[in-house]
Symmetry: C2
Subunit: 318 residues, 2 copies
């Protein structure tokens, strides 16, 4: 089986990442191209072709197909990508069908959060655990649901929007239009804005020193480094994020009765500072019979989750 | 097909309701017996046998099987009912297997909230709509998930606990141990307690007059009657419940991507006083692509949902 390969295409707003991935989850060759999202669908499709052809050129490996993880809503049948955020003038594009014709390869398109879940199923923790909630902590908070080794897509492929689970109906305004969404606390830009505000009242935090008082340079990585250096403010800040995500997951677990949670994406790099309060928050409040079943795990795919998730679409059988 | 029948057994904490139900959803004959839950499993099993035998006696109709809707966690394979609330000394009882032997009939056991959802699928709105979230508003707030004509049970059969979705992590304590659960606002006893408290500040409400100032007599029905009589307090009280349930459902719909909600149970009798603010609350906050898909409907099974849901288990094919 290790001789089987697929190509994974991670379609982002600014860059497209490509990789040839083997059936046992190793990236054999990879590359990156700019997306040119602002030039419209035809330009983006051209970039995808360019990348795929470059990967296959001079390479004897036969691939089983091409998987694309795309933002926005995806219709499986024609591989249609609808209204992806940060892709102006995109509308509704039959990405899969159009690429199949011109590349002469099977093309599988899926929403990027769902692709991440399938990646974890095929190459990661899902090899041993067949039902889990996959959460990707990055710019946004994405989610995908795997139940009994199958992706739960819902009616339109949008299931698993863990980022827009409410934890406080009177809470912060979220960009989605609702209030108190998990993403309005855990999403990258929200988190940084909150930290900036709190730091103005915590002059003793080592973050001021690290940034030389230039708050423009604040990133989740800086907060993590400060926590690692023992900074009390940063440790408590991450702890609070962990609790909030945990309380949001209580609703998700009570609805789905799926007790394994896998966290991936950049912010999951907060590690135990995040994971310990998160697990404690879920255990404190989830329905009693589910408490003992709970497992919280760190994704195995790390920063190659995008390419591997897309490549996994080719190996995934419903 | 109308010549096919099954027996539905609605196992409650104080009484057991039995009915012979036809394939087209008509109750042909019914009866009620006390549960004797306090006497332990053997006594309860005896009551079930007694009821089923009484229904079948002197009746030429051949039934396809017996369906039982039971509280607590249910394991399908042996029809095991585990730790049902309000059944002392019950523990783990192989109800299905034990009844099959002694009655000589196929027996199907399912959790009562799931049975209500299957009832709606087979006999109600589900005849036309294959994916929906069924919510039963009564003593508690129960839920069941139907996706593409199949029950989504989760890992232990407990999926769909809409009552224990959080709307405010700093909200009211719920009997489940969490805070700000939907049930801690909408559950019968919570609702009545809240209304009593508010009524002490609303001396102008017609409820005081209806009850002759005896708050012990307050029920959801009284609040509904007062709302129907134009009582502003009661109309606003129900409106507030509708909004809270709606905000809770935003999380559920965003996770499941299932946009049809069916409400049943006694409190759904609040009708438009509840449904209009509920639908408005969901539309206000659910993710944009799901807003136009939303449908909120009133269960067709009304107060026969218990028996019909149980009977439907026999006709349901996974």
């Amino acid at each position: 089986m290790a001789s089987k390969y697929s190509i994974g295409v991670d379609l982002g707003g600014t860059s497209i990442k490509f990789g040839i991935v083997s059936y046992d989850g190793k990236i054999y060759k990879k590359m990156v191209l700019p997306t040119f999202a602002e030039k419209g669908p035809a330009a983006v499709v051209k970039q995808i072709k360019k990348g795929v052809n470059a990967l296959l050129k001079n390479d004897p490996k036969k691939v089983l197909g091409i998987g694309i993880g795309a933002p926005g809503s995806v219709k499986l049948k024609k591989g249609t990508v609808e209204y992806p955020p940060n892709f102006p003038n995109w509308g509704r594009v039959h990405l899969g069908r159009s690429l199949e014709k011109s590349l002469g390869q099977k093309v599988y398109v899926e929403n990027d959060a769902n692709a991440a879940a399938i990646g974890e199923l095929i190459f990661g923790i899902g090899k041993k655990i067949g039902s889990f909630i996959m959460i990707t902590l990055g710019t946004g908070v994405g989610g995908g649901i795997i139940f009994e080794r199958r992706l739960f897509r819902g009616e339109t492929g949008a299931a698993g929007e863990v980022g827009h689970v409410t934890i406080d109906i009177n809470g912060k305004r979220c960009n989605c239009g609702s209030y108190g969404c998990v993403e309005s606390y855990l999403g990258n830009s929200y988190m940084i804005r909150d930290a900036e505000q709190l730091l103005s009242e915590h002059k003793d935090s080592v973050i001021h020193h690290i940034l030389n008082n230039d708050m423009e340079l604040l990133t989740p990585k800086v907060i993590f480094d400060a926590a690692n250096a023992g900074d009390e403010f940063s440790i408590n800040f991450i702890k609070n994020l962990g609790s909030k995500l945990g309380y949001g997951l209580v609703s998700v677990i009570n609805i789905l009765d799926i007790s394994t949670v896998i966290l991936g994406g950049g912010v999951s790099g907060f590690g135990e500072f995040l994971f310990i309060p998160l697990e404690a928050a879920i255990k404190e409040r989830v329905l009693k019979p589910l408490k003992t079943r709970l497992k919280v795990k760190h994704s195995k795919l790390k920063n190659e989750a995008g390419i591997k998730g897309a490549a996994a679409l080719v190996f995934y059988r419903k």
